[in-house]
């Protein structure tokens, strides 16, 4: 039966009113902001690297001077792919006709030609290197990055007693990256998808930053996904913030310790490949406990990252099979999805069209009482029955 939809997203089927999903359409533009492409160490090794991002192709190459540069991959001469070329000196040489492009985007040499033609300049992306990661600035309006949206450093990165990054990437096909950003407010999915039992959950958004404060315990019926395999069952405090549209720093206090500095940093970031696919990346550094060797410390970071991997892969299974939904139906125990999306919208409009509603401070603390009671019962029943919630 054909249904007639009314203004509140409901429709009539026979005598029944039913809710109708409004899937909207994916945006044509890509978010304004800093995007992490990966680790500097990975881009420094090997030849030029090709990155599919923002609906186009980029080349990342390291010159002999050690500078890491990001250019449009396609050569403005005849469209050759620079990522298939070679680094020569401080320039990238096109495999098609050996045109040489410097890190600033200027053509520095055409070995077979008398002179470089006018306007021989390709797009050089503005980059930053922060805490071992490489960032590029995307702005559909072509502006330079404002100082107030710079990505903050991680003081513990490279400090004594901390590991280097354990880093993973996953490609997500068929979903807009708003799906992963929604996780910021989605308290309940942490239980069902990430096997954490949130006991405290609060969001605050302001300016270009969206944050989540969560206290959680690992689900006793799914301990293999625990954040801290050395201290199973203890609670975790997590302070996580998106700085801009795509880069989240999650500070974690594991093992039931809620004070002092964090002992784990988890990065959760992505960049769009197209309007319906994105590259998800996550990385972990860990403070090595006293008396733990470097190798054991790296092993801890790896175990934590592996635990995260299970959760992210399950996120992807959900996204792959779900509908985009612009009008989610929410309960009082859900997080502020609409307010988060209002915040997120600021990155998809021209900077002069950013409204106070998108950036004014907003705070939301969820009442987890009912959820925690219900989940504890579910966990107890699983344990009694010897059942695991982890999908094979």
């Amino acid at each position: 039966m054909r249904s007639k939809e009314n203004a509140v997203g409901a429709a009539v089927h026979g005598d029944e009113q039913v809710r109708v999903i409004d899937s909207g359409a994916p945006p044509e533009r890509f978010a304004r902001g800093w995007h992490c492409l990966g680790l500097v160490r990975d881009f420094k090794s090997g030849g030029p690297h090709q990155i599919s991002a923002f609906g186009t192709e980029l080349v990342v190459f390291t010159g002999e001077d050690g500078n890491v540069n990001v250019l449009n991959a396609f050569c403005p001469h005849m469209g050759g792919n620079l990522a298939h070329g070679q680094v020569k000196g401080n320039a990238i040489a096109c495999p098609f006709h050996d045109w040489r492009w410097g890190g600033n985007g200027k053509c520095v040499d055409i070995p077979y030609a008398r002179r470089v033609p006018p306007l021989a300049r390709t797009r050089a992306w503005v980059t930053r290197q922060i805490a071992g990661q490489l960032f590029v600035w995307n702005d559909p309006q072509g502006s330079q990055p404002p100082a107030e949206v710079e990505i903050p450093g991680i003081p513990e990165y490279g400090a004594d007693g901390w590991t280097d990054w354990t880093w993973h990437t996953l490609e997500v096909e068929g979903s807009h990256c708003r799906e992963i950003v929604d996780n910021v407010v989605d308290m309940a999915h942490f239980f069902y998808v990430h096997y954490a039992l949130p006991t405290y959950f609060k969001n605050h958004f302001e300016g270009h930053v969206a944050s989540q404060v969560m206290h959680a315990t690992p689900r006793p019926d799914a301990l293999e996904t625990s954040l801290d395999p050395t201290n199973i069952g203890a609670g975790t405090r997590s302070d996580a913030s998106y700085f801009g549209p795509s880069y989240m720093i999650d500070k974690l206090w594991t093992g039931g310790r809620f004070e002092g500095g964090p002992n784990v940093y988890l990065i959760n970031c992505h960049y769009p490949i197209s309007s319906t696919s994105f590259k998800l990346q996550y990385g972990v550094i860990v403070k090595k406990p006293e008396g733990v060797s470097d190798a054991e410390g790296e092993e801890m970071a790896k175990m934590i990252a592996d635990g995260q991997k299970i959760g992210f892969e399950q996120d992807i299974q959900i996204w792959k099979n779900k509908a985009p939904i612009d009008n989610p139906l929410l309960s009082e125990e859900d997080g502020p999805v609409y307010q988060l999306r209002r915040w997120y919208e600021q990155f998809y409009v021209d900077i002069e069209d950013v409204t106070p509603e998108m950036v004014n401070r907003f705070e939301f603390e969820i009442d987890t009482t009912r959820a925690v009671n219900s989940w504890n019962e579910e966990v107890s029943a699983n344990l009694a029955a010897g059942r695991s919630p982890i999908r094979a």
Partner: protein, 84 residues
Amino acid sequence: MKPLNCDLCGQQVLVEKFSAVHTSIQWTNKTDNCPTIRAAGLGLGDPGRSCAALQNRIERAVLDSEILESTIELPSHADLPRLH
């Protein structure tokens, strides 16, 4: 959401309570206007970025039944946040 003015600086925020534990606060101005947050100098995203006077004002409003528990209201078509 119920408008409330902070005792300390007089700024207005909008407050909503779904339950005793739940609170939702929508600021209607920049937090630069809040002397407490400005003085603390904590960056965006810092969980300590809050104002005790405002918290007290909200708690009092709850005790005085100025703010009653409400249920969630969802935006519809024209008000939905969109990316296109």
